[in-house]
Symmetry: C2
Subunit: 309 residues, 2 copies
Protein backbone atom coordinates (compact mmCIF):
# COMPACT_ATOMS: atom_id res chain seq x y z
CA UNK A 1 0.00 0.00 0.00
CA UNK A 2 1.54 3.30 -0.98
CA UNK A 3 1.17 6.26 1.33
CA UNK A 4 -1.40 7.94 -0.88
CA UNK A 5 -3.63 4.87 -0.66
CA UNK A 6 -3.12 4.63 3.11
CA UNK A 7 -3.96 8.32 3.42
CA UNK A 8 -7.25 7.71 1.64
CA UNK A 9 -7.98 4.58 3.68
CA UNK A 10 -7.33 6.27 7.02
CA UNK A 11 -9.18 9.45 6.06
CA UNK A 12 -12.24 7.37 5.21
CA UNK A 13 -12.05 5.44 8.46
CA UNK A 14 -11.52 8.57 10.56
CA UNK A 15 -14.45 10.26 8.92
CA UNK A 16 -16.76 7.35 9.74
CA UNK A 17 -15.44 7.09 13.29
CA UNK A 18 -16.08 10.79 13.95
CA UNK A 19 -19.60 10.48 12.57
CA UNK A 20 -20.32 7.45 14.71
CA UNK A 21 -18.96 9.09 17.86
CA UNK A 22 -20.97 12.19 17.08
CA UNK A 23 -24.10 10.04 16.88
CA UNK A 24 -23.37 7.88 19.94
CA UNK A 25 -22.06 10.42 22.45
CA UNK A 26 -25.29 12.06 23.53
CA UNK A 27 -25.71 15.80 23.25
CA UNK A 28 -28.75 15.64 25.52
CA UNK A 29 -27.26 13.97 28.58
CA UNK A 30 -28.52 15.85 31.64
CA UNK A 31 -27.11 18.91 33.37
CA UNK A 32 -24.20 19.57 31.03
CA UNK A 33 -22.82 16.03 31.28
CA UNK A 34 -23.26 15.48 27.55
CA UNK A 35 -21.37 18.66 26.73
CA UNK A 36 -18.44 17.53 28.86
CA UNK A 37 -18.44 14.06 27.31
CA UNK A 38 -18.56 15.42 23.77
CA UNK A 39 -15.85 17.99 24.54
CA UNK A 40 -13.65 15.16 25.79
CA UNK A 41 -14.04 12.75 22.92
CA UNK A 42 -15.03 14.53 19.69
CA UNK A 43 -12.47 15.98 17.29
CA UNK A 44 -9.61 14.84 19.40
CA UNK A 45 -6.42 13.00 18.81
CA UNK A 46 -4.98 10.71 16.21
CA UNK A 47 -7.54 7.92 16.80
CA UNK A 48 -4.74 5.38 16.67
CA UNK A 49 -6.81 2.82 18.60
CA UNK A 50 -9.78 3.17 16.26
CA UNK A 51 -7.47 2.79 13.26
CA UNK A 52 -5.99 -0.40 14.76
CA UNK A 53 -9.47 -1.87 15.31
CA UNK A 54 -10.47 -1.06 11.76
CA UNK A 55 -7.21 -2.25 10.22
CA UNK A 56 -7.42 -5.56 12.09
CA UNK A 57 -11.07 -5.95 11.08
CA UNK A 58 -10.01 -5.41 7.47
CA UNK A 59 -7.17 -7.92 7.81
CA UNK A 60 -9.62 -10.65 8.87
CA UNK A 61 -12.36 -9.48 6.51
CA UNK A 62 -14.87 -8.76 9.25
CA UNK A 63 -17.26 -7.47 6.58
CA UNK A 64 -17.91 -11.10 5.64
CA UNK A 65 -19.30 -11.83 9.13
CA UNK A 66 -22.87 -11.10 10.18
CA UNK A 67 -22.91 -7.58 11.59
CA UNK A 68 -19.12 -7.41 11.31
CA UNK A 69 -18.99 -3.90 9.85
CA UNK A 70 -21.21 -2.51 12.59
CA UNK A 71 -19.28 -4.43 15.24
CA UNK A 72 -15.97 -3.01 14.03
CA UNK A 73 -17.28 0.56 14.12
CA UNK A 74 -18.69 0.00 17.62
CA UNK A 75 -15.40 -1.51 18.77
CA UNK A 76 -13.43 1.41 17.27
CA UNK A 77 -15.61 3.97 19.08
CA UNK A 78 -15.61 2.02 22.35
CA UNK A 79 -11.79 1.93 22.57
CA UNK A 80 -11.67 5.66 21.79
CA UNK A 81 -14.21 6.32 24.58
CA UNK A 82 -12.07 4.37 27.05
CA UNK A 83 -8.92 6.16 25.92
CA UNK A 84 -10.63 9.56 26.12
CA UNK A 85 -12.07 8.92 29.59
CA UNK A 86 -8.63 7.88 30.84
CA UNK A 87 -7.18 11.20 29.64
CA UNK A 88 -9.94 13.16 31.40
CA UNK A 89 -9.24 11.44 34.71
CA UNK A 90 -5.47 11.51 34.18
CA UNK A 91 -5.49 15.28 33.67
CA UNK A 92 -7.27 15.98 36.97
CA UNK A 93 -5.48 17.76 39.80
CA UNK A 94 -5.16 14.60 41.92
CA UNK A 95 -3.36 12.87 39.02
CA UNK A 96 -1.22 14.79 36.50
CA UNK A 97 -2.86 18.18 37.06
CA UNK A 98 -2.74 19.21 33.40
CA UNK A 99 -4.56 22.32 32.27
CA UNK A 100 -4.12 21.97 28.52
CA UNK A 101 -4.60 19.03 26.15
CA UNK A 102 -4.21 19.39 22.40
CA UNK A 103 -4.11 23.14 22.90
CA UNK A 104 -7.52 23.24 24.61
CA UNK A 105 -8.32 23.60 28.32
CA UNK A 106 -8.67 20.15 29.90
CA UNK A 107 -12.15 18.94 30.81
CA UNK A 108 -11.92 19.80 34.51
CA UNK A 109 -10.68 23.30 33.70
CA UNK A 110 -13.55 23.82 31.31
CA UNK A 111 -16.36 22.08 33.23
CA UNK A 112 -15.12 21.69 36.81
CA UNK A 113 -13.63 18.69 38.58
CA UNK A 114 -16.87 17.01 39.61
CA UNK A 115 -18.29 17.13 36.09
CA UNK A 116 -14.97 15.88 34.68
CA UNK A 117 -14.99 12.89 36.99
CA UNK A 118 -18.63 12.11 36.13
CA UNK A 119 -18.00 12.57 32.41
CA UNK A 120 -15.12 10.10 32.58
CA UNK A 121 -17.26 7.63 34.51
CA UNK A 122 -20.12 7.99 32.02
CA UNK A 123 -17.74 7.59 29.06
CA UNK A 124 -16.52 4.28 30.43
CA UNK A 125 -20.12 3.09 30.77
CA UNK A 126 -20.91 4.41 27.28
CA UNK A 127 -18.12 2.30 25.80
CA UNK A 128 -19.97 -0.81 27.00
CA UNK A 129 -23.32 0.61 25.89
CA UNK A 130 -21.93 1.09 22.39
CA UNK A 131 -20.70 -2.52 22.34
CA UNK A 132 -24.11 -3.91 23.30
CA UNK A 133 -26.67 -2.31 21.00
CA UNK A 134 -30.34 -2.80 21.69
CA UNK A 135 -31.71 -5.71 19.73
CA UNK A 136 -31.70 -4.68 16.09
CA UNK A 137 -33.36 -7.62 14.44
CA UNK A 138 -32.01 -8.48 11.03
CA UNK A 139 -28.94 -9.51 9.13
CA UNK A 140 -26.88 -6.57 10.34
CA UNK A 141 -27.21 -7.31 14.06
CA UNK A 142 -23.94 -7.84 15.88
CA UNK A 143 -24.03 -11.41 17.15
CA UNK A 144 -24.50 -11.65 20.94
CA UNK A 145 -21.38 -13.82 21.22
CA UNK A 146 -19.34 -11.10 19.51
CA UNK A 147 -20.85 -8.43 21.76
CA UNK A 148 -19.90 -10.41 24.87
CA UNK A 149 -16.40 -11.06 23.57
CA UNK A 150 -15.81 -7.38 22.76
CA UNK A 151 -16.95 -6.45 26.29
CA UNK A 152 -14.64 -9.10 27.73
CA UNK A 153 -11.61 -7.84 25.79
CA UNK A 154 -12.29 -4.17 26.53
CA UNK A 155 -13.02 -4.63 30.24
CA UNK A 156 -9.82 -6.60 30.81
CA UNK A 157 -7.73 -4.04 28.88
CA UNK A 158 -9.26 -1.15 30.87
CA UNK A 159 -9.24 -2.43 34.43
CA UNK A 160 -6.74 -3.45 37.09
CA UNK A 161 -4.93 -5.94 34.86
CA UNK A 162 -4.69 -3.32 32.11
CA UNK A 163 -4.86 0.45 31.92
CA UNK A 164 -5.97 1.30 35.46
CA UNK A 165 -3.37 -1.08 36.89
CA UNK A 166 -0.65 0.55 34.79
CA UNK A 167 -1.71 3.97 36.01
CA UNK A 168 -1.45 2.76 39.61
CA UNK A 169 2.12 1.60 38.97
CA UNK A 170 2.87 4.92 37.28
CA UNK A 171 1.47 6.79 40.27
CA UNK A 172 3.65 4.83 42.65
CA UNK A 173 6.75 5.19 40.45
CA UNK A 174 7.39 8.93 40.59
CA UNK A 175 10.87 9.48 41.96
CA UNK A 176 11.50 5.73 42.14
CA UNK A 177 14.26 4.06 40.18
CA UNK A 178 12.18 1.39 38.44
CA UNK A 179 14.02 -1.55 36.97
CA UNK A 180 13.45 -2.44 33.35
CA UNK A 181 10.99 -5.23 34.13
CA UNK A 182 8.74 -2.99 36.25
CA UNK A 183 8.89 -0.27 33.60
CA UNK A 184 7.84 -2.79 30.96
CA UNK A 185 5.06 -4.14 33.17
CA UNK A 186 3.77 -0.60 33.74
CA UNK A 187 3.62 0.25 30.04
CA UNK A 188 2.37 -3.20 29.11
CA UNK A 189 -0.70 -2.41 31.20
CA UNK A 190 -1.00 1.37 30.94
CA UNK A 191 -0.93 1.82 27.17
CA UNK A 192 -0.06 -1.60 25.76
CA UNK A 193 -3.16 -3.42 26.95
CA UNK A 194 -5.62 -1.14 25.16
CA UNK A 195 -3.56 -1.03 21.94
CA UNK A 196 -3.33 -4.81 21.89
CA UNK A 197 -7.04 -5.10 22.70
CA UNK A 198 -7.81 -2.78 19.77
CA UNK A 199 -6.21 -5.25 17.39
CA UNK A 200 -7.87 -8.22 19.10
CA UNK A 201 -11.29 -6.56 19.03
CA UNK A 202 -10.95 -5.96 15.31
CA UNK A 203 -10.10 -9.64 14.89
CA UNK A 204 -13.05 -10.67 17.10
CA UNK A 205 -15.39 -8.77 14.75
CA UNK A 206 -14.37 -11.23 12.04
CA UNK A 207 -15.03 -14.21 14.30
CA UNK A 208 -11.36 -15.18 14.67
CA UNK A 209 -11.19 -17.69 17.51
CA UNK A 210 -8.76 -17.51 20.46
CA UNK A 211 -7.16 -20.79 19.50
CA UNK A 212 -6.39 -19.88 15.89
CA UNK A 213 -2.93 -18.99 14.49
CA UNK A 214 -4.40 -15.73 13.13
CA UNK A 215 -5.41 -14.70 16.65
CA UNK A 216 -1.91 -15.49 17.92
CA UNK A 217 -0.31 -13.52 15.08
CA UNK A 218 -2.50 -10.47 15.56
CA UNK A 219 -1.98 -10.61 19.31
CA UNK A 220 1.80 -10.66 18.73
CA UNK A 221 1.43 -7.69 16.39
CA UNK A 222 -0.66 -5.84 19.01
CA UNK A 223 1.83 -6.64 21.79
CA UNK A 224 4.76 -5.36 19.75
CA UNK A 225 2.93 -2.18 18.75
CA UNK A 226 1.77 -1.53 22.31
CA UNK A 227 5.35 -1.58 23.50
CA UNK A 228 6.77 0.24 20.46
CA UNK A 229 4.26 3.05 20.93
CA UNK A 230 5.62 3.78 24.39
CA UNK A 231 9.29 3.41 23.47
CA UNK A 232 8.83 5.94 20.66
CA UNK A 233 6.83 8.19 23.00
CA UNK A 234 9.81 8.27 25.36
CA UNK A 235 12.22 8.94 22.46
CA UNK A 236 10.10 11.84 21.21
CA UNK A 237 9.75 13.22 24.72
CA UNK A 238 13.53 13.31 25.01
CA UNK A 239 14.33 14.65 21.55
CA UNK A 240 11.52 16.82 20.20
CA UNK A 241 10.60 20.38 21.14
CA UNK A 242 7.24 20.92 22.89
CA UNK A 243 5.61 22.68 19.95
CA UNK A 244 6.14 19.66 17.70
CA UNK A 245 4.69 17.30 20.30
CA UNK A 246 1.74 19.51 21.21
CA UNK A 247 2.57 18.83 24.85
CA UNK A 248 5.32 19.68 27.31
CA UNK A 249 8.50 17.86 26.24
CA UNK A 250 10.84 16.41 28.83
CA UNK A 251 8.05 16.36 31.40
CA UNK A 252 8.69 12.77 32.44
CA UNK A 253 12.40 13.37 32.90
CA UNK A 254 11.64 16.53 34.89
CA UNK A 255 9.23 14.59 37.09
CA UNK A 256 11.98 12.03 37.60
CA UNK A 257 9.80 9.38 36.01
CA UNK A 258 11.70 6.47 34.53
CA UNK A 259 11.52 6.16 30.73
CA UNK A 260 12.96 3.79 28.15
CA UNK A 261 15.43 6.51 27.21
CA UNK A 262 16.58 7.09 30.79
CA UNK A 263 16.87 3.34 31.25
CA UNK A 264 18.30 2.17 27.93
CA UNK A 265 19.80 5.31 26.44
CA UNK A 266 18.61 6.89 23.20
CA UNK A 267 20.40 4.61 20.76
CA UNK A 268 19.30 1.39 22.42
CA UNK A 269 15.72 2.67 22.69
CA UNK A 270 15.76 3.41 18.94
CA UNK A 271 17.04 -0.11 18.19
CA UNK A 272 14.33 -1.57 20.37
CA UNK A 273 11.63 0.33 18.48
CA UNK A 274 13.01 -0.93 15.16
CA UNK A 275 13.18 -4.49 16.48
CA UNK A 276 9.53 -4.28 17.60
CA UNK A 277 8.51 -3.06 14.15
CA UNK A 278 10.28 -6.02 12.60
CA UNK A 279 8.57 -8.40 15.05
CA UNK A 280 5.15 -6.98 14.25
CA UNK A 281 5.67 -7.25 10.51
CA UNK A 282 7.02 -10.78 10.87
CA UNK A 283 3.94 -11.80 12.86
CA UNK A 284 1.69 -10.48 10.09
CA UNK A 285 3.75 -12.14 7.37
CA UNK A 286 3.48 -15.49 9.14
CA UNK A 287 -0.22 -15.16 9.93
CA UNK A 288 -1.51 -16.70 6.74
CA UNK A 289 -3.69 -13.64 6.17
CA UNK A 290 -3.69 -12.27 2.59
CA UNK A 291 -0.95 -9.64 2.31
CA UNK A 292 -3.28 -7.21 0.56
CA UNK A 293 -5.68 -7.22 3.51
CA UNK A 294 -2.82 -6.62 5.96
CA UNK A 295 -1.65 -3.42 4.29
CA UNK A 296 -3.39 -1.05 6.72
CA UNK A 297 -1.84 -2.91 9.69
CA UNK A 298 1.57 -2.77 7.99
CA UNK A 299 1.24 0.94 7.29
CA UNK A 300 0.08 1.63 10.86
CA UNK A 301 3.08 -0.22 12.29
CA UNK A 302 5.44 1.98 10.25
CA UNK A 303 3.55 5.09 11.36
CA UNK A 304 3.68 4.15 15.04
CA UNK A 305 7.40 3.50 15.00
CA UNK A 306 8.48 6.28 12.64
CA UNK A 307 6.20 9.08 13.78
CA UNK A 308 7.69 12.44 14.74
CA UNK A 309 4.99 13.58 17.19
Amino acid sequence: MNSEFFGRWSAGVLDRVEQALDAWVPANAPAGLGDAMRYAVLDGGKRLRALLVQAAAEAVDASASTGGVDAAMRAACAVELIHAYSLVHDDMPCMDNDVLRRGKPTVHIRFGEAQAMLAGDAMQALAFEVLTPDGVVGSEQVEPGVQARLCRLLARASGQSGMAGGQAIDLASVGQSLDEQTLRDMHHRKTGALLRASVQMGAACGGVQDSSPVWAALTAYGEAMGLAFQVVDDILDATQPSDTLGKTAGKDADANKPTYVSLLGLEQARSEADALLAQALEALAGSGLPAARCQPLVALAHRIVNRDH
Copy 2:
Protein backbone atom coordinates in the same frame (compact mmCIF):
# COMPACT_ATOMS: atom_id res chain seq x y z
CA MET B 1 -42.33 -16.27 53.76
CA ASN B 2 -41.99 -15.56 57.45
CA SER B 3 -39.21 -13.31 58.59
CA GLU B 4 -37.18 -16.20 59.98
CA PHE B 5 -37.19 -17.88 56.58
CA PHE B 6 -36.28 -14.60 54.84
CA GLY B 7 -33.50 -14.09 57.35
CA ARG B 8 -32.06 -17.50 56.44
CA TRP B 9 -32.51 -16.88 52.70
CA SER B 10 -30.81 -13.49 52.77
CA ALA B 11 -28.02 -14.67 55.08
CA GLY B 12 -27.24 -17.48 52.64
CA VAL B 13 -27.24 -15.13 49.67
CA LEU B 14 -25.09 -12.54 51.41
CA ASP B 15 -22.59 -15.17 52.44
CA ARG B 16 -22.21 -16.39 48.85
CA VAL B 17 -22.00 -12.83 47.49
CA GLU B 18 -19.22 -11.93 49.93
CA GLN B 19 -17.32 -15.07 49.00
CA ALA B 20 -17.67 -14.33 45.29
CA LEU B 21 -16.57 -10.71 45.68
CA ASP B 22 -13.64 -11.86 47.77
CA ALA B 23 -12.62 -14.20 44.95
CA TRP B 24 -13.21 -11.75 42.09
CA VAL B 25 -11.82 -8.49 43.48
CA PRO B 26 -8.11 -9.11 43.10
CA ALA B 27 -5.81 -8.84 46.08
CA ASN B 28 -2.82 -8.74 43.76
CA ALA B 29 -3.70 -5.76 41.56
CA PRO B 30 -0.56 -3.65 41.21
CA ALA B 31 0.78 -0.86 43.40
CA GLY B 32 -1.88 -0.98 46.09
CA LEU B 33 -4.78 -0.71 43.65
CA GLY B 34 -6.18 -4.07 44.74
CA ASP B 35 -6.10 -3.04 48.41
CA ALA B 36 -8.08 0.09 47.61
CA MET B 37 -10.62 -1.85 45.54
CA ARG B 38 -11.10 -4.50 48.22
CA TYR B 39 -11.37 -1.86 50.95
CA ALA B 40 -14.11 -0.17 48.93
CA VAL B 41 -16.25 -3.18 48.16
CA LEU B 42 -15.74 -5.98 50.70
CA ASP B 43 -17.72 -6.20 53.93
CA GLY B 44 -19.69 -3.12 53.15
CA GLY B 45 -23.30 -2.17 53.12
CA LYS B 46 -26.61 -3.91 53.02
CA ARG B 47 -26.06 -5.42 49.54
CA LEU B 48 -29.59 -4.46 48.61
CA ARG B 49 -28.77 -4.57 44.88
CA ALA B 50 -27.26 -8.04 45.10
CA LEU B 51 -30.31 -9.24 47.04
CA LEU B 52 -32.62 -7.83 44.35
CA VAL B 53 -30.67 -9.64 41.62
CA GLN B 54 -30.80 -12.90 43.51
CA ALA B 55 -34.46 -12.53 44.49
CA ALA B 56 -35.47 -11.81 40.89
CA ALA B 57 -33.36 -14.74 39.66
CA GLU B 58 -35.20 -16.94 42.16
CA ALA B 59 -38.58 -15.57 41.03
CA VAL B 60 -37.90 -16.62 37.44
CA ASP B 61 -36.11 -19.84 38.44
CA ALA B 62 -32.82 -18.88 36.82
CA SER B 63 -31.33 -22.12 38.17
CA ALA B 64 -33.23 -23.95 35.45
CA SER B 65 -31.31 -22.05 32.72
CA THR B 66 -27.87 -23.05 31.49
CA GLY B 67 -25.33 -21.25 33.65
CA GLY B 68 -28.16 -19.34 35.34
CA VAL B 69 -26.84 -19.75 38.88
CA ASP B 70 -23.38 -18.51 37.90
CA ALA B 71 -24.89 -15.66 35.87
CA ALA B 72 -27.01 -14.51 38.83
CA MET B 73 -24.00 -14.47 41.16
CA ARG B 74 -21.94 -12.56 38.58
CA ALA B 75 -24.79 -10.08 38.08
CA ALA B 76 -25.17 -9.62 41.85
CA CYS B 77 -21.46 -8.87 42.26
CA ALA B 78 -21.32 -6.63 39.20
CA VAL B 79 -24.09 -4.34 40.46
CA GLU B 80 -22.40 -4.17 43.86
CA LEU B 81 -19.12 -3.21 42.16
CA ILE B 82 -20.85 -0.41 40.26
CA HIS B 83 -22.59 0.80 43.41
CA ALA B 84 -19.35 0.67 45.41
CA TYR B 85 -17.34 2.54 42.76
CA SER B 86 -19.99 5.27 42.63
CA LEU B 87 -19.66 5.76 46.39
CA VAL B 88 -15.87 6.02 46.14
CA HIS B 89 -16.09 8.74 43.49
CA ASP B 90 -19.05 10.44 45.23
CA ASP B 91 -17.10 10.76 48.47
CA MET B 92 -14.16 12.55 46.86
CA PRO B 93 -13.42 16.20 47.66
CA CYS B 94 -14.62 17.45 44.27
CA MET B 95 -18.01 15.79 44.88
CA ASP B 96 -19.47 15.34 48.40
CA ASN B 97 -16.15 15.54 50.26
CA ASP B 98 -17.04 12.86 52.82
CA VAL B 99 -14.36 11.55 55.15
CA LEU B 100 -16.31 8.70 56.74
CA ARG B 101 -18.48 5.96 55.30
CA ARG B 102 -19.98 3.24 57.47
CA GLY B 103 -17.75 4.42 60.27
CA LYS B 104 -14.53 3.91 58.29
CA PRO B 105 -12.35 6.52 56.56
CA THR B 106 -13.45 6.91 52.94
CA VAL B 107 -11.21 5.46 50.24
CA HIS B 108 -9.51 8.73 49.29
CA ILE B 109 -8.77 9.47 52.97
CA ARG B 110 -7.25 6.03 53.42
CA PHE B 111 -5.44 5.66 50.06
CA GLY B 112 -5.22 9.16 48.58
CA GLU B 113 -7.35 10.82 45.92
CA ALA B 114 -5.50 9.51 42.88
CA GLN B 115 -5.70 5.90 44.05
CA ALA B 116 -9.40 6.38 44.94
CA MET B 117 -10.17 7.64 41.46
CA LEU B 118 -8.27 4.75 39.86
CA ALA B 119 -9.87 2.21 42.19
CA GLY B 120 -13.32 3.47 41.19
CA ASP B 121 -12.38 3.33 37.52
CA ALA B 122 -11.01 -0.19 37.87
CA MET B 123 -14.09 -1.33 39.80
CA GLN B 124 -16.34 -0.20 36.96
CA ALA B 125 -14.22 -2.17 34.50
CA LEU B 126 -14.21 -5.16 36.87
CA ALA B 127 -18.01 -5.20 36.89
CA PHE B 128 -17.93 -5.89 33.14
CA GLU B 129 -15.08 -8.38 33.54
CA VAL B 130 -17.15 -10.33 36.05
CA LEU B 131 -20.11 -10.38 33.63
CA THR B 132 -18.00 -11.80 30.78
CA PRO B 133 -16.07 -14.76 32.17
CA ASP B 134 -13.39 -16.34 30.07
CA GLY B 135 -14.74 -19.26 28.13
CA VAL B 136 -15.51 -22.00 30.64
CA VAL B 137 -16.54 -24.83 28.38
CA GLY B 138 -19.31 -26.98 29.76
CA SER B 139 -22.88 -27.00 30.96
CA GLU B 140 -22.32 -24.28 33.54
CA GLN B 141 -21.09 -21.63 31.10
CA VAL B 142 -23.14 -18.44 31.07
CA GLU B 143 -24.59 -18.17 27.59
CA PRO B 144 -22.95 -15.43 25.49
CA GLY B 145 -26.34 -13.89 24.79
CA VAL B 146 -26.98 -13.59 28.53
CA GLN B 147 -23.51 -12.10 29.07
CA ALA B 148 -24.15 -9.45 26.41
CA ARG B 149 -27.60 -8.67 27.81
CA LEU B 150 -26.28 -8.28 31.36
CA CYS B 151 -23.59 -5.88 30.07
CA ARG B 152 -26.24 -3.94 28.14
CA LEU B 153 -28.50 -3.55 31.19
CA LEU B 154 -25.67 -2.64 33.53
CA ALA B 155 -23.98 -0.14 31.20
CA ARG B 156 -27.23 1.73 30.57
CA ALA B 157 -28.06 1.85 34.27
CA SER B 158 -24.58 3.16 35.11
CA GLY B 159 -23.97 5.79 32.46
CA GLN B 160 -25.39 9.11 31.37
CA SER B 161 -28.95 7.85 31.06
CA GLY B 162 -28.70 6.27 34.53
CA MET B 163 -26.54 6.78 37.58
CA ALA B 164 -23.91 9.17 36.22
CA GLY B 165 -26.62 11.31 34.63
CA GLY B 166 -28.51 11.47 37.92
CA GLN B 167 -25.35 12.53 39.72
CA ALA B 168 -24.87 15.32 37.19
CA ILE B 169 -28.39 16.59 37.89
CA ASP B 170 -27.72 16.30 41.63
CA LEU B 171 -24.50 18.29 41.23
CA ALA B 172 -26.32 21.05 39.37
CA SER B 173 -29.23 21.08 41.84
CA VAL B 174 -27.56 22.28 45.03
CA GLY B 175 -29.26 25.46 46.15
CA GLN B 176 -31.78 25.21 43.31
CA SER B 177 -35.50 24.84 43.90
CA LEU B 178 -36.12 21.76 41.76
CA ASP B 179 -39.67 21.03 40.77
CA GLU B 180 -41.11 17.61 41.51
CA GLN B 181 -40.57 16.31 37.99
CA THR B 182 -36.87 17.20 37.95
CA LEU B 183 -36.43 15.68 41.40
CA ARG B 184 -38.07 12.47 40.21
CA ASP B 185 -35.95 12.44 37.06
CA MET B 186 -32.80 12.87 39.15
CA HIS B 187 -33.61 9.99 41.49
CA HIS B 188 -34.96 7.85 38.68
CA ARG B 189 -31.47 7.97 37.19
CA LYS B 190 -29.24 8.33 40.24
CA THR B 191 -30.46 5.43 42.36
CA GLY B 192 -33.54 4.10 40.58
CA ALA B 193 -31.83 2.95 37.40
CA LEU B 194 -29.40 0.59 39.14
CA LEU B 195 -32.06 -0.81 41.48
CA ARG B 196 -34.37 -1.48 38.53
CA ALA B 197 -31.49 -2.96 36.54
CA SER B 198 -30.72 -5.28 39.47
CA VAL B 199 -34.19 -6.80 39.17
CA GLN B 200 -33.98 -6.95 35.37
CA MET B 201 -30.55 -8.58 35.45
CA GLY B 202 -31.87 -11.28 37.76
CA ALA B 203 -34.72 -11.85 35.30
CA ALA B 204 -32.30 -11.94 32.36
CA CYS B 205 -30.38 -14.76 34.09
CA GLY B 206 -33.52 -16.84 33.73
CA GLY B 207 -33.85 -15.98 30.06
CA VAL B 208 -36.97 -13.81 30.48
CA GLN B 209 -37.44 -11.92 27.22
CA ASP B 210 -38.03 -8.16 26.91
CA SER B 211 -41.40 -8.69 25.32
CA SER B 212 -42.82 -10.99 28.01
CA PRO B 213 -45.38 -9.99 30.66
CA VAL B 214 -42.99 -11.28 33.35
CA TRP B 215 -40.35 -8.80 32.18
CA ALA B 216 -42.89 -5.97 32.30
CA ALA B 217 -44.05 -6.98 35.78
CA LEU B 218 -40.53 -7.22 37.20
CA THR B 219 -39.59 -3.93 35.55
CA ALA B 220 -42.61 -2.29 37.21
CA TYR B 221 -41.55 -3.79 40.54
CA GLY B 222 -38.01 -2.48 40.02
CA GLU B 223 -39.23 0.98 39.04
CA ALA B 224 -41.44 1.24 42.12
CA MET B 225 -38.69 0.02 44.44
CA GLY B 226 -36.13 2.37 42.90
CA LEU B 227 -38.34 5.33 43.66
CA ALA B 228 -39.51 4.04 47.05
CA PHE B 229 -35.92 3.56 48.16
CA GLN B 230 -35.21 7.25 47.67
CA VAL B 231 -38.47 8.49 49.18
CA VAL B 232 -37.76 6.46 52.33
CA ASP B 233 -34.14 7.67 52.31
CA ASP B 234 -35.39 11.25 52.42
CA ILE B 235 -37.89 10.41 55.19
CA LEU B 236 -35.17 8.78 57.29
CA ASP B 237 -32.81 11.67 56.65
CA ALA B 238 -35.43 14.05 58.03
CA THR B 239 -36.57 11.99 61.01
CA GLN B 240 -33.79 9.74 62.31
CA PRO B 241 -30.75 10.67 64.38
CA SER B 242 -27.32 10.30 62.76
CA ASP B 243 -26.25 7.37 64.92
CA THR B 244 -29.19 5.27 63.73
CA LEU B 245 -28.47 6.10 60.08
CA GLY B 246 -24.70 5.59 60.32
CA LYS B 247 -24.31 8.85 58.41
CA THR B 248 -24.92 12.53 59.02
CA ALA B 249 -28.69 13.11 59.24
CA GLY B 250 -30.24 16.23 57.80
CA LYS B 251 -27.26 16.69 55.47
CA ASP B 252 -29.37 17.19 52.36
CA ALA B 253 -31.56 19.78 54.05
CA ASP B 254 -28.46 21.56 55.37
CA ALA B 255 -26.97 21.59 51.88
CA ASN B 256 -30.24 23.05 50.65
CA LYS B 257 -30.74 20.02 48.41
CA PRO B 258 -34.35 19.34 47.48
CA THR B 259 -35.83 16.11 48.92
CA TYR B 260 -39.19 14.38 48.73
CA VAL B 261 -39.83 15.54 52.28
CA SER B 262 -38.99 19.18 51.54
CA LEU B 263 -41.14 19.00 48.42
CA LEU B 264 -44.13 16.91 49.54
CA GLY B 265 -44.03 17.14 53.33
CA LEU B 266 -43.47 14.18 55.63
CA GLU B 267 -47.00 12.78 55.59
CA GLN B 268 -47.38 12.86 51.83
CA ALA B 269 -43.91 11.31 51.38
CA ARG B 270 -44.92 8.47 53.71
CA SER B 271 -48.14 7.90 51.69
CA GLU B 272 -46.14 7.85 48.50
CA ALA B 273 -43.79 5.18 49.88
CA ASP B 274 -46.77 3.04 50.91
CA ALA B 275 -48.40 3.48 47.49
CA LEU B 276 -45.17 2.39 45.78
CA LEU B 277 -45.04 -0.73 47.97
CA ALA B 278 -48.60 -1.57 46.95
CA GLN B 279 -47.72 -1.02 43.27
CA ALA B 280 -44.71 -3.30 43.48
CA LEU B 281 -46.67 -6.08 45.18
CA GLU B 282 -49.49 -5.74 42.68
CA ALA B 283 -47.05 -6.04 39.80
CA LEU B 284 -45.71 -9.29 41.28
CA ALA B 285 -49.18 -10.65 41.97
CA GLY B 286 -50.17 -10.02 38.35
CA SER B 287 -46.95 -11.39 36.86
CA GLY B 288 -48.07 -15.00 36.58
CA LEU B 289 -44.96 -16.06 38.50
CA PRO B 290 -45.54 -18.67 41.24
CA ALA B 291 -46.19 -16.84 44.52
CA ALA B 292 -43.77 -19.08 46.41
CA ARG B 293 -40.89 -18.06 44.13
CA CYS B 294 -41.74 -14.37 44.57
CA GLN B 295 -41.44 -14.43 48.36
CA PRO B 296 -37.91 -12.98 48.49
CA LEU B 297 -38.99 -10.09 46.23
CA VAL B 298 -42.08 -9.52 48.39
CA ALA B 299 -40.02 -9.54 51.57
CA LEU B 300 -37.44 -7.17 50.06
CA ALA B 301 -40.14 -4.71 49.04
CA HIS B 302 -41.40 -4.59 52.63
CA ARG B 303 -37.85 -4.17 53.91
CA ILE B 304 -37.09 -1.30 51.53
CA VAL B 305 -40.23 0.64 52.43
CA ASN B 306 -40.37 -0.11 56.16
CA ARG B 307 -36.68 0.06 57.02
CA ASP B 308 -35.52 2.33 59.84
CA HIS B 309 -31.97 2.99 58.65
